[in-house]
Amino acid sequence: MNAEDVAGELARRAPGQWELYRKTAESREWETAAGATRVSWNREEGWAARWWREGGPRFAAASSAARLVPAIQTADTTAMSDTPAPEWPSRNVPARAAEDPLPEPATELFADLSRAIAAASRAEASLASLAVRSGRASERLVNAAGLDVSQELRLVDGLARCVARRGARARETRIPFRWDAAPDLDALARRLADAATLPLSDRPAPISSGQWLLDPAVGAALLSSLTPLFVTDRPPRWLVRGALLPPAFAIVDDASRDAAYDGEGVPTRRTVLVEDGAVAGRLLDLMGARRTGHRSTGHGVRPSYRLPPRAAPRRLFFEAADAVAPSELLPSVTRGLFAAALTAPPRVDVDADRYEIEFTGISIAAGRATGPVAGARSSGRLSELLRRIRRASTDLQFFPMPYPCGSPTLLIERASFD
């Protein structure tokens, strides 16, 4: 059983309305904790078929072509409601093979990161475990319209766990990371140290309202939680006039540097979602394009071969027209809080126009840090929060959400805290 056999089976069942995806991936992972190490090697193969027959979308996934066919047969038996098939893309790009071995991680990463955390936390925090994964995947997608594209993807990511102790109290934090270039251990160490040690201060927020400075990691989490705004067919009522941010800000998705195609074989391109503060576009996969009468923006994302593609961000980030150097933002805070790290996932209800963000950080007065804040919460109307973003710095950084999501340091006026 091979790809041609499966394609033949799909063509017989759903003439003109099918696609076949194949992925082979190899990864190596090194996990180090106190006194123990684990080295893993993983070779995964995945096949996925999607087709329209008697009304609706059907999807089957399997770890081999031979197993995919019975899965297709099973998925083909259930009666479904009518959902129009998308317009399939067509393009041929010859496959590109890469056989170079996976890179070995630097063996001293654990020791280097441990030292950086100790320095950033004045020895209050220590690295408890570090897992680093280096992987590559080859994808091939063919469909009934004659599409046949292939691409190779590479990824280095991981998870670091840090524990801080002060007296009898302890705090643990876990931070996933992704390295698109050389590892930035100092930045990761600072994030781990802040997230683990600041909550140990026991000092509550000294103010109930003021300016709010968001670390890029917190800004990225806020941006990621806005995703439903960009994939929904019906924007919430509060967004009817389209103004989401102040005019100097934009939100863009551009995964061109990550992959040439999305999970449906549509070429990757820059998509402006918010321009001059107003909503200007949305993320469309093939189904969304069919529903709205537009072209796909290349955002059919397959989180895994096990799931059908869905409209989702691929590399989402803020852009600011008048960004300033990070060192210029702090002096502009007369009275406020700096959110260094989240203490819980942000809760954002875009339909109800509500948000709630719990964070740990530092209080600021007259442009100077005045002390740690163990925990604070900001909640209220999402629309107001976004319109009160005043300035951004030039330090755009990306964080795995799990797709890369980027934000610079953001300054928000008139936030309320409790």
């Binding site: 190490t37 090697w41 070779r43 996934a61």
Partner: protein, 426 residues
């Protein structure tokens, strides 16, 4: 493969899943998944090597062992032609039609407007270990989760719904009963009171509380758990008995052998108010061996010590007595999630709705919020009165840790907790 105190195993898994997306009485998407994989592990002197390859049968086993030997620096196995048998054309989920008809009827009657996903998952696992140790297991799990619109006294209301149970003859009827109860008319909720509040966790949802504050910190690899320094300490009232029992196959987290091939045993997490034992796998079992809690999230994941079914021993109090003891507070029958930060001991439980209790009587409906507390303080604030009936909580289904998802379950009587902090939803 194994020698001395080393651990060496080969794991095989065949996973099949059928998922149907239901929207307002119609199936909008069908998904079928068939995944096979072979993993091999060798552990010696604090170092573990783990490999995974997609596939099944002799070719995949040989490839996994060959890769493991190469990773461990051993002599490579000779490559020889394997017998490649075509997978049998077995029918997947022949009962899918029957389930579709049942769901159509139940949803039309109790929740005609909905967006729900129905899943049947069958997992077949086999372990071949050192010393010719071998075990196999099969589990079939059924889930229905999502949201539906209920016509309540105050107008339409969107409600979450989750039901997770092992497949059995009775599961369809139980699902129908739970759906009917979830769709029952209710009053318009008001925001819950903020701040320190006494609560009764009813309808078995106390299992989630104990899963967070006892189960996770007693997983043997929880190296920052405060319980590590408190062996046999008195944590709670004398009447409190909590155990983790994978042998309860009627619960979502049950199994006959764990994913390392060990026959599981019930582990007392708290016995007569005193701290009990840890949940171990082969790696962390020490001299007494594994308790049978080595669990893998998927074919490509290594075993880790994880909890299964949390069971809280019932007491003798009826509902009236529990409400009288509570006096004023909240009556919570549903928790939609929980988390714990083990090092600090802080935990959170999210409730989608509750009933206010005033002077020992059920009063108005309140909306959702978060219950927060510290695990040692909360255990010491458990009231020495427990409901007389141990109820299975079917909303409790999957537990994620470091991205690894395993099925879990639980059953508990009504439990009264003092001084938890309530934070209403924003």
């Amino acid at each position: 493969m194994g020698r001395g105190t080393e651990i060496a195993e080969v794991f095989g898994e065949d996973l099949g899943e059928l998922a149907l997306d239901w929207v307002d009485g119609e199936v909008r998407e069908v998904r079928v998944r068939r995944e096979e994989g072979v993993a091999a592990r060798r552990r010696a002197e604090g170092e573990e090597r783990f490999v995974f390859v997609s596939g099944s049968g002799e070719p995949a086993v040989r490839e996994a062992i060959r890769a493991l030997r190469a990773e461990s620096g051993g002599e490579p196995l000779p490559i020889r032609a394997s017998r490649t048998a075509d997978p049998e054309a077995d029918a997947l989920f022949p009962e899918a039609d029957r389930w579709t008809r049942r769901l159509m009827g139940a949803l039309a009657r109790y929740a005609p407007r909905h967006a729900l996903t129905f899943r049947i998952r069958e997992t077949r696992r086999r372990v071949i270990g050192d010393g010719r140790r071998s075990a196999s297991s099969v589990r079939r799990l059924v889930s229905l989760e999502g949201r539906f619109t209920a016509a309540s006294r105050a107008g339409d209301e969107r409600r979450p719904f989750a039901f997770h149970a092992p497949d059995s003859d009775a599961v369809a009827d139980e699902l129908k009963t739970r759906l009917a109860a979830a769709a029952a008319p209710r009053d318009r909720p008001v925001p819950p009171p903020a701040g320190p509040t006494d609560v009764i966790l009813a309808a078995g949802c106390a299992a989630i509380f104990f899963h967070e504050v006892l189960g996770h910190p007693l997983e043997a690899d929880a190296d920052t758990s405060p319980y590590r320094n408190l062996p046999d300490a008195r944590l709670s009232v004398h009447d409190l008995d909590v155990r983790d029992d994978p042998r309860r196959l009627d619960l979502f987290g049950g199994y006959e052998t764990d994913d390392e091939g060990t026959a599981p045993r019930a582990v007392r997490l708290v016995l007569s108010g005193r701290l009990g034992s840890r949940l171990t796998d082969r790696t962390h079992g020490g001299a007494v061996g594994s308790t049978g809690h080595g669990r893998r999230a998927g074919p490509a994941d290594a075993p880790r010590p994880r909890g299964s079914n949390v069971l809280v021993a019932p007491g003798s109090a009826d509902t009236e007595e529990m409400l009288r003891r509570l006096g004023n507070g909240l009556w919570i029958e549903e928790l939609s999630g929980g988390s714990v930060e083990i090092a600090s001991g802080g935990f959170r439980l999210r409730f989608p709705r509750a009933r206010r209790v005033r002077r020992g009587g059920l009063a108005d409906e309140v909306g959702g919020g978060v219950l927060a507390g510290e695990m040692l303080a909360s255990l010491s604030a458990v009231e020495p009165a427990f409901g007389r009936e141990q109820r299975v909580h079917r909303s409790f289904g999957w537990c994620a840790r470091d991205g690894h998802l395993v099925p879990v379950g639980g059953a508990a009587p009504d439990v009264l907790l003092r001084r938890l902090t309530v934070r209403p939803d924003a």
